[in-house]
């Protein structure tokens, strides 16, 4: 029989340390739904999604019961809708409403893929889709949107960056009465992964199979609990080793649930995303892991180094536990979704500049950060450009999800509730980047892109 302490460890992780599978995400290709008539195209999209994912929620619930591990979200990602808009023309909001309708009918929590890939330039449908994003997000609740504006291979499309500064503001303005929630569902990427199960940035890349299951795990609470038990004089080599072991165990659950879900649904299993995804629940915070390592508060000097160690150890532990790793894979640092980050931002230790430095060594980027309502679009574009530059030069994924708190000053707070948490409005630099952003054009790809 299994070792008693192993059994108790698993149960304690689930019951007390918030271990869960964050999401089972079904990726669905919509290439075969393209039609020159937008209404016919929407109908085909609806039919294909509801047909492919008909049992997704049911299978998720069955696995939850069987293994006793919560599966928090069941989600769907689809082919970037800009590609369908390119074929059909018409108002992209129709696709948004179709996706929302499908998500509601299936009972999935979120649906991603109202997206465009414009890292080297706009093609048919891209600009129309980006311009429709604020309206689409205002009229829906489960839809998520993303735009890829740069890559290591192609550089950064600064025309898109300029446009998106306005898009982010507009998305917040249209949902001003509802805590500017529109902007929480829009991510701007550099080097966007095609198989990401996490929202709001999930879309089903053009290189993916017709239908596939990806899994995203969670478990900052478990890592923190392990570190809590170690003495203060335990050296960092040993700390890294402990995190690796824990990440291995967390990832194995993701692998188990993912392969079984794929088999039950009769579709191939894609990847496990090795991410530490925090939730606003007490004890489920990435910031608290860093503080457990010995930092007085997340955001102080030493934070970047501690995060680099954490991120690397999570990957090393996880990679052996899974047959196929992908997506974003790394520690997430979304401010509003992490109790420790919220505290650190409230007291001013964690600033936008420090967060930017942290994104150079961990997963994703400036995530779920509220900025003052009077922040100009050009400043938002400049924040996006900075983050994209870090991703481009370091050959990693970076992203920006900032929320202009329309009508709110610095120090106010936006309450999103649920997994999205609450966001203290953080200060941004007042000096303008207007002229730089207005130039447009493209930042050429760096030398790192010439690997052949």
């Amino acid at each position: 029989m299994l070792n008693t302490s192993d059994i108790l460890e698993t149960i304690q992780m689930i019951q007390q340390e918030n271990l869960d599978v964050r999401t089972i995400t079904m990726g669905i290709s919509l290439f075969d739904c393209m039609d020159s008539d937008i209404d016919r195209s929407c109908q085909k999209v609806y039919d294909k999604i509801t047909r492919s994912a008909g049992r997704l929620v049911e299978v998720g619930r069955m696995l939850e019961g069987k293994y006793g591990v919560p599966i928090i979200n069941k989600r769907i990602s689809v082919t970037p809708i800009a590609m369908l808009v390119g074929a059909s023309g018409g108002d992209p909001v129709k696709y948004a409403l179709t996706l929302e309708k499908a998500a509601v009918a299936l009972g999935v929590d979120l649906i991603g893929g109202f997206s465009a890939l414009v890292h080297k330039g706009f093609s048919a449908g891209d600009r129309e889709l980006i311009e429709a994003i604020p309206e689409a997000l205002a009229q829906t609740t489960r839809l998520c949107s993303s735009v890829n504006v740069g890559s290591t291979k192609s550089g950064i499309n600064m025309d898109a960056v300029k446009l998106l500064g306005h898009t982010v503001r507009r998305a917040a303005e249209l949902t001003q009465d509802n805590n500017c929630v529109g902007a929480t569902k829009l991510v701007i990427f550099c080097n966007a992964p095609e198989d990401n199960p996490f929202m709001a940035g999930a879309f089903h890349g053009p290189g993916e199979p017709d239908c596939v299951i990806h899994v995203g795990v969670s478990g900052p609470g478990v890592v923190r609990a392990v570190l809590q038990k170690t003495p203060d004089d335990c050296d960092l080599t040993a700390v890294a080793e402990l995190i690796k072991r824990t990440a291995f165990k967390i990832t194995r659950i993701g692998q188990l649930v993912g392969t079984e879900a794929a088999a039950m649904l009769g579709v191939p299993f894609g990847i496990v995303d090795l991410s530490l995804a925090p939730t606003p629940a007490v004890g489920d915070s990435v910031a608290h892991i860093l503080e457990e390592m010995g930092l007085g508060r997340c955001g102080t000097h030493g934070t970047t180094a501690a995060l680099a160690l954490l991120n690397d150890a999570v990957k090393k532990g996880g990679v052996m536990a899974s047959s196929s790793v992908g997506g974003l894979s790394g520690a997430f640092i979304p401010v509003s979704e992490d109790a420790g980050m919220i505290e650190a931002a409230r007291c001013g230790t964690l600033t936008l500049d420090k967060l930017e430095a942290m994104t150079a060594v961990c997963s994703v980027g400036l995530d779920m950060i509220a900025v003052p309502g009077d922040t100009p679009a050009s400043t938002i574009s400049a924040i996006i450009a900075d983050e994209a530059a870090i991703g481009m030069v370091n050959s990693k994924t970076t992203a920006v999800r900032v929320i202009p708190a329309i009508g709110q000053p610095e120090g106010a707070e936006l309450e999103f509730g649920g997994l999205f948490g609450s966001a203290p409005v953080m200060p941004v630099h007042k000096e303008s980047a207007e002229v730089f952003i207005a130039r447009g054009g493209r930042i050429p790809a760096p030398l790192q892109s010439l690997k052949n």
């Binding site: 029989m1 299994l2 059994i7 108790l8 698993t10 149960i11 019961g65 006793g68 194995r252 659950i253």
Partner: protein, 89 residues
Amino acid sequence: MKAILTVLGRDTVGILAKVSTECAAVQGNIIEVTQSVLQEMFAMIMLVDITNLTCSLPEFQQRLVEMGQREQLVIHVMHEDIFNSMHRI
């Protein structure tokens, strides 16, 4: 197919008997039992063969959880694979 059944609660007479009766009622075959009583707390881990269950695994879980609530015990039933995949390479 096996499941791991854990029981936690205040020690009273007949906990093991009640849990085994529930298992036997649906043809759950108890393979191994580890139990201890620390002060007044009862803790038990059972390995149960569920291959020939006369009901589904969710129904089996439901039965035991409801019985646990009646007897003020915390009972979890989880498929063995989750422990195997986490703790064995």
